[in-house]
């Protein structure tokens, strides 16, 4: 069942065309990652999907009554606004104590409820954002660069957590990432974006596509070699990864 679909959307900021002719379809239950270089319109695409940006042409179709859970890349809380993590979970709607505690646990931030949001580390803050997003029982969870600042082990752990959340809620997950390595091993589908959709498909298909190599082949040679290695040898029990220079 299609939850949300973008059909040929264009987005302009003044004279600059950030997105052109982007079409995308998200089905229930899948984990889709959008990858692309800096300035390729990844965050803008996500913001179009949540309705924060209005595409200059094309359209966005949503399943009736679709509930979105959004985890922004950054959230600046003004220093004049005191708010505990627990109170933050009550936005936009109050939630019972037990549910709040369970959501923090599931997002990997147990026991942080009493702390001020301003006192949380980057990783803790991100997990509280995730906890808030899943409290709304979303049909579609959208995350903008959620693994930024996490090391590779942290990133893999985060993807495992997302998969568990997806399994429990039966939702779809759409995320933006530049961490190519983990993306390739943890997503059901990868969309490679650079203003337009360059290529799209399962990780194996995408990493073999010429457009993908053109985009990532030079700068991230080490990382690319790494997942080529993984995809070529998926049945291997033990992986002896080469040390990747671009990590």
């Amino acid at each position: 069942m299609t939850l949300i679909a973008a059909e040929g959307i264009d987005l302009r900021y003044g004279a600059r065309r950030v997105l052109h002719g982007v079409s995308l379809r998200i089905e229930r239950g899948e984990i889709v990652t959008v990858v692309g270089p800096n300035g390729s319109g990844k965050s803008s695409l996500l913001r179009c999907l949540i309705g924060a940006e209005r595409p200059s042409s094309g359209r966005i179709l949503r399943a009736a009554g679709l509930r979105l859970g959004y985890v922004p890349q950054k959230l600046h809380i003004d220093a004049t606004l005191p708010i505990t993590a627990r109170r933050f979970l009550d936005l936009p709607q109050r939630v019972p104590e037990a549910e709040a505690a369970a959501a923090l646990e599931e997002a990997g931030a147990p026991g942080l409820g009493g702390l001020q949001m301003a006192a949380l580390s980057g990783g803790q803050f991100q997990r509280v954002l995730l906890a808030r997003a899943i409290l709304g029982r979303p049909d579609l969870l959208l995350l903008d660069e959620p693994t930024q600042g996490l090391d590779q082990a942290g990133t893999s752990g985060f993807y495992r957590r997302l998969a568990a959340i997806r399994d429990r809620l039966g939702c779809a997950v759409l995320l933006v990432s530049h961490d190519l390595h983990v993306v390739m091993s943890a997503s059901d589908r990868v969309v490679c974006l650079n203003g337009h959709v360059c290529c799209e498909g399962t990780p194996a298909v995408v990493s073999a596509a010429p457009a993908w190599r053109e985009l990532f082949g030079t700068g991230t040679a080490g990382a690319l070699a790494l997942y080529r290695h993984e995809h070529d040898h998926e049945d291997h029990v033990a992986h002896h990864h080469p040390v990747a220079g671009a990590e």
Partner: protein, 264 residues
Amino acid sequence: MILDAFLWRAGLAGLGVALAAALLGCFVVWRRMAYFGDATAHAAILGVALSLAGGVLPPLGILVVAGLMAVLITVLAERGLGTDTILGVLAHGALGVGLFAAAVLPGPRVNLESWLFGDVLTVTWRDLGLIWAGTAVVGLVLWRHWGMLLTATLSPDLARAAGMDPRRATLLLSLLLAALVAVGIQVVGALLVTALLVIPAASARGLARTPEGMAGIAAGIGALSAVGGLGLAILADAGVGPSTVTAAALLFAIVTATTRLRGR
């Protein structure tokens, strides 16, 4: 000591305005709208001049002109034009135009001092009713839409994703600001309304752990400033508006100093 009726009215008027201003002021501080408050309040002078020339009750004229100013700023801000510079132009331009209009428009002579600095001792029972009606409206609207306003203040994108329109929050707060100016101008005057918005909220920041806590403490500090200010005005034989703001500033200094000392 038996207080005269006019003192009771002055005290109650100050209390009503201070409470509404303190609650609304939290959003003004969180959203960095202090200049916005100034522009809206200064536009009130033009509202006064126009109402007196047109034979309308001043609060009505103020509400309309300040409301138009608030909407204008909201629209400009949404187009990315709500910079400090443009707000500065609007805030001081509105004051200049208002003073100019007060001088040249026909109608009864405008007593500028009472509109600029407030004249709470002349508040009638009808004025008092109007002030508390305004306070009730501000309080009720904030209470009713608190979750939406807070979400949109923290992040317009989170509000969007939850199916809310953050522009509604901005517009609602602007209109409440205009309503507060319309009822508050008689108490503290157009030049000092922003002080009642900002100072109690700023004082409450260091004492609160949640947004609601901050709003509650700000309301308490606002109420204390209103009562203390009236006392100060009687003692020192000074204007009530300036005395109220002086009391608020003193409270801010005391709270900030003690929380800093305890924090270090």
